[in-house]
């Protein structure tokens, strides 16, 4: 068993469990479909179930965009409507087959979603809310007013179903089969590379970018997928009811979709299905509420947000997890970390070369014409008083902030204009001053997100052999990174439950898992006690021994002196000293910058050593 793990496959136990789960799920799906086909249901029940199944598919789209990726979409009814009108007009006005019309509807929804996402997802937040509401409004206007094409407020009657499923029972069977398939897809998506990227973006977009996730592309993908599911649900809905009209796809319906996913729980597909079922059935049970029904709806949204932010399913799962401790990690599956592919290069050549780098915020010169040269296999410290521009410089090097002037070359490649995630692929790693982990993910998943984005370099046969291509290999590699910093035992824990010191270590492990050649550490020692600091120093020394080059910012001079081979000092955004620790820490300008000048009247020229 151990041997098979080492060769990079999932442990057989896990595979077996998954296979069993899938078998049970498929059986349940088959039985549900059979039941729908065989059971004689009243027209009323059929309609209710058809609505529930098709709505649930659209709501599963919201699970992807809102639950996994943390982006708001207030136009799901619009995408639902595009799919529905695709089938409605396709099978009537254009005489297409049901499948052809369905395909067109879904493609149109996908196109609309992609365009909307591409134009607005760089902005995020309330802009996205506004853009989706606008789109929803415009679509409703078009459906109502373009009478020649959409038939206006009267709607489209006599929509055709596929010939084999013309009866309501079998058609309901189709809807239920589709729902089971989509729910499985959405569940599976969460465990894929894209799914993990989505969650990383949701939990901390900046950190996701820095470890190599293209956050923008990930968000566009999520939004488009969500639109596809919206369109698919709508297309099935149109076939189910054989009549559509614009008011079925209004903004109010988008809000209903949103409420469904929030009530059930946005983080898991089961929540979406649960929420949809409840909110379709509730109106039937709550008929006595009549006019105030929607008001109760609105009130419920507020109450859910306040008291049950993870929805019913999320709440239940949290309870369940408390009863059941996390699966312990089998030490046998930890792969020794192949830290960098540069161990062979024991040379001292230049790895990062920065010329005249400036970043001005209005009149403030946060970084002012800084030159910086970092040599391979060294620990290079960047120090300076608070507000001297250290973190800003790091942000410019990382690509989070665009420089006003200057150039950055990594291993001779000009990276000045590259976005952060591309720089990560060129071999930059980073930890943050204020911890930026993916809070809702497990420790292991935090590291896997970085581990599955290795640099595209030719020299990695050893790593590839170990890591394999499957999840199991990735898991081993990620565990290796956690083991390197000494916290592999906590891999299964939610990252939020870790102590501060351990969270810092997870950040470092996450950076290491991306196999960087140059690692930026922004105040890794901040907030650590003496014991933890000693461990940190040992860790840094070990990293250097493995051929990693490190740029470290810290205020603890004793620590800097112990680990640094080279020190650069910044003050007011300018480089005021550069050299070995012995030279720099005795430099008069540096002492002046930290302790103030003995005689302020005496002016000194700022010359670097």
């Amino acid at each position: 068993m151990r041997a098979s793990v080492r060769s990079g496959k999932s442990p057989p136990g896990v595979t077996g469990r998954r296979g069993l789960a899938f078998g049970l799920y498929a059986t349940a799906a088959l039985m549900a479909v059979m039941a729908a086909v065989i059971t004689p249901l009243s027209a009323y029940s059929l309609n209710l179930l058809m609505q529930a199944a098709t709505y649930a598919i659209a709501v599963l789209g919201l699970t992807i965009v809102l639950g996994y990726t943390g982006q708001i979409n207030l136009a799901q009814a619009a995408f639902f409507g595009i799919g529905a009108y695709g089938v409605a007009l396709g099978t009537t006005a254009f005489g297409l087959s049901f499948l052809g019309a369905l395909a067109i509807g879904v493609v149109l929804a996908a196109g609309a979603g992609a365009v909307l996402g591409l134009t607005s997802l760089r902005l995020g937040g309330h802009y996205l809310a506004m853009v989706t509401i606008s789109f929803q409004t415009i679509l409703t206007l078009v459906l109502t007013n373009w009478v020649a094409f959409t038939r206006g407020p009267d709607g489209v009657p006599n929509i055709r179903r596929p010939a084999l499923l013309a009866e309501s029972g079998p058609y309901l069977g189709l809807c239920i089969a589709a729902l089971f398939a989509v729910a499985w897809f959405v569940w599976w998506l969460k465990t894929t590379k894209l799914g993990r990227a989505m969650q990383a973006v949701r939990d901390n977009e900046l950190a996701a970018n820095v470890i190599g996730v293209d956050a923008y592309a990930t968000k566009v993908a999520a939004f488009t997928l969500s639109a596809v599911l919206g369109g698919f649900g709508g297309a099935l809905f149109a076939g189910g009811f054989t009549y559509v009209s614009p008011d079925q796809f209004s903004f109010a319906e988008s809000v209903v979709f949103l409420t469904m996913v929030l009530l059930g729980g946005a983080a898991a597909p089961a929540g979406a299905v649960l929420g949809t079922g409840l909110l379709i059935l509730l109106p039937e049970w709550l008929r006595f509420l009549k006019v105030i029904y929607l008001a109760v709806y609105g009130g419920a949204v507020i109450l859910i947000m306040i008291f049950m932010p993870d929805g019913i399913w999320g709440y239940a799962m949290t309870r369940w997890r408390r009863l059941r401790p996390a699966r312990p990690i089998d030490p046998g599956i930890i792969a020794p970390l192949a830290l960098t592919r540069e161990t062979a290069r024991a040379d001292n050549s230049v790895i990062l070369s920065v010329h005249g780098l400036s970043k001005h915020f209005g009149g403030l010169k946060a970084v002012d014409a800084v030159d910086l040269t970092i040599h391979r296999n060294t620990v290079h410290a960047l120090i300076g008083p608070n507000g001297s521009g250290k973190t800003t410089l790091l942000n410019v090097l990382n690509g989070i902030v665009r420089p006003t002037a200057g150039s950055i070359a990594l291993d001779g490649v000009d990276i000045t204009r590259l976005p952060p995630h591309r720089r990560a692929r060129h071999g930059l790693g980073r930890s943050f001053q204020n911890i930026r982990l993916f809070g809702a993910m497990s420790v292991l998943d935090n590291v896997i997100v970085a581990a599955e984005r290795p640099r595209p370099l030719p020299a990695l046969p050893r790593l590839r052999a170990r890591a394999g291509r499957g999840d199991g290999g990735l898991e081993c590699h990620a565990l290796g990174a956690l083991d390197f910093v000494g916290i592999a035992a906590r891999a299964g824990a939610q990252v939020g439950s870790l102590s501060y010191g351990h969270q810092r270590l997870v950040e470092i492990a996450r950076a290491l898992a991306g196999s960087p050649k140059l690692l930026f550490l922004d105040e890794p020692g901040a907030g650590l006690n003496h014991v933890e600091k000693d461990e940190l120093v040992r860790l840094l020394t070990r990293l250097k021994g493995h051929g990693l080059t490190i740029l470290i910012i810290d205020h603890d001079m004793a620590m800097v002196e112990r680990v640094a081979d080279h020190i650069t000092v910044l003050n007011f955004g300018k480089r005021i000293a550069d050299g070995t620790p012995a030279e720099v820490l005795r430099h008069t300008d540096v002492i002046a910058a930290y302790l103030g000048e003995e005689r302020p009247a005496l002016s000194r020229s700022y010359g670097a050593s």
Binding site: G70, A129, S134, V255, V291, G298, I302, M305
Partner: protein, 291 residues
């Protein structure tokens, strides 16, 4: 020529409504960093309060205005306690969703209480307006414009010249730091909601005579006002006014020369254009996250 001038005036009149509501957005955004999707419903509530007080209860118009404004101040406090305050330490998404929930609750609550029939409210002025050449100047639009400009000046002076205004700005930028500096953050947020609800109510009082009073009036104005805020530059007071006026004019000319049924689409098309070319708006600045 006269026709175009008339359109221009009407556009500015409509635009000043958007500007007034956009000011409320800007205010709450500056104080809490949150977008209040129920801002338009504040206006709707104000308008309905006027209908109840001035028509149903036959109170004097001026007294109805005062009572409405006082009620709105109280409502702002309630709104804060029920919708925003419990979520103040969470990310923007739950807060946005909560305000959307509040919007649905308010609109359907009023609908249940008052029914769907549109109400109308007379203007406080006996004279409907005056004509210069071919152009008719509606007195209610002139009042709206004047009030909008006055509120901009007041808001500007408040934020830039008073200590309370600066405390509110500090609260918006960093709640934790502000409270460490001894700023009563909870009170600042409470004040913001009270004032912005009053501002919303004022907008409702002013627009009620030119529009029908319906439960949906607020959200349709608010969407435009929101678009106006983005076009002007989010959170920027001048931007809210300029964006609002520009949108009103574009919409009026669009309806006159392009298409009446698609009147509501123009605002959003302009918005898309801005988001593509200049997402920070006319007066806005890009703010990046601290690493």
């Amino acid at each position: 020529m006269g026709f175009n001038l008339q359109l221009l005036f009407t556009g500015i009149g409509v635009g000043s409504i958007y500007a007034l509501v956009a000011l409320g957005f800007a205010l709450i955004y500056r104080a809490t960093n949150v977008v209040n999707f129920a801002q338009g419903d504040f206006a709707m509530l104000g308008a309905f309060a006027m209908v109840v007080l001035a028509i149903d209860l036959e109170l004097p118009y001026w007294l109805s205005i005062l009572i409405t404004l006082a009620l709105m101040v109280g409502f702002g406090a309630l709104f804060n306690l029920a919708v925003y305050y419990p979520l103040r330490n969470r990310s923007f998404l739950p807060v946005i969703i909560s305000t959307i929930g509040a919007s649905i609750l308010l609109e359907n609550g009023v609908l249940a209480a008052y029914g769907p029939r549109p109400q109308s409210l007379d203007s406080i002025f006996a004279v409907p307006g005056f004509s210069v050449g071919d152009v008719f100047f509606d007195s209610q639009y002139i009042v709206i414009l004047v009030v909008a400009v006055v509120m901009v000046v007041v808001q500007y002076l408040f934020f830039e010249r008073t200590l309370t205004g600066k405390k509110m700005q500090a609260t918006s930028q960093d709640k934790e730091m502000a409270s460490l500096l001894g700023i009563p953050v909870i009170w600042m947020i409470m004040l913001t909601f009270m004032y912005s609800a009053m501002l919303g109510g004022l907008a409702g009082i002013l627009v009620a005579p030119v529009l029908f009073v319906t439960v949906g009036m607020g959200s349709s104005i608010a969407l435009k006002a929101f678009a106006a805020s983005i076009i002007g530059g989010f959170g920027d007071v001048t931007g809210a006014i300029v964006g609002g006026l520009a949108l009103g004019v574009i919409e009026t000319f669009g309806a006159a020369y392009v298409s009446v049924p698609y009147k509501d689409a123009f605002a959003f098309l302009v918005l898309f254009g801005f988001l593509l070319v200049r997402p920070q708006g006319i007066f806005g600045e890009r703010i990046s996250e601290k690493a």
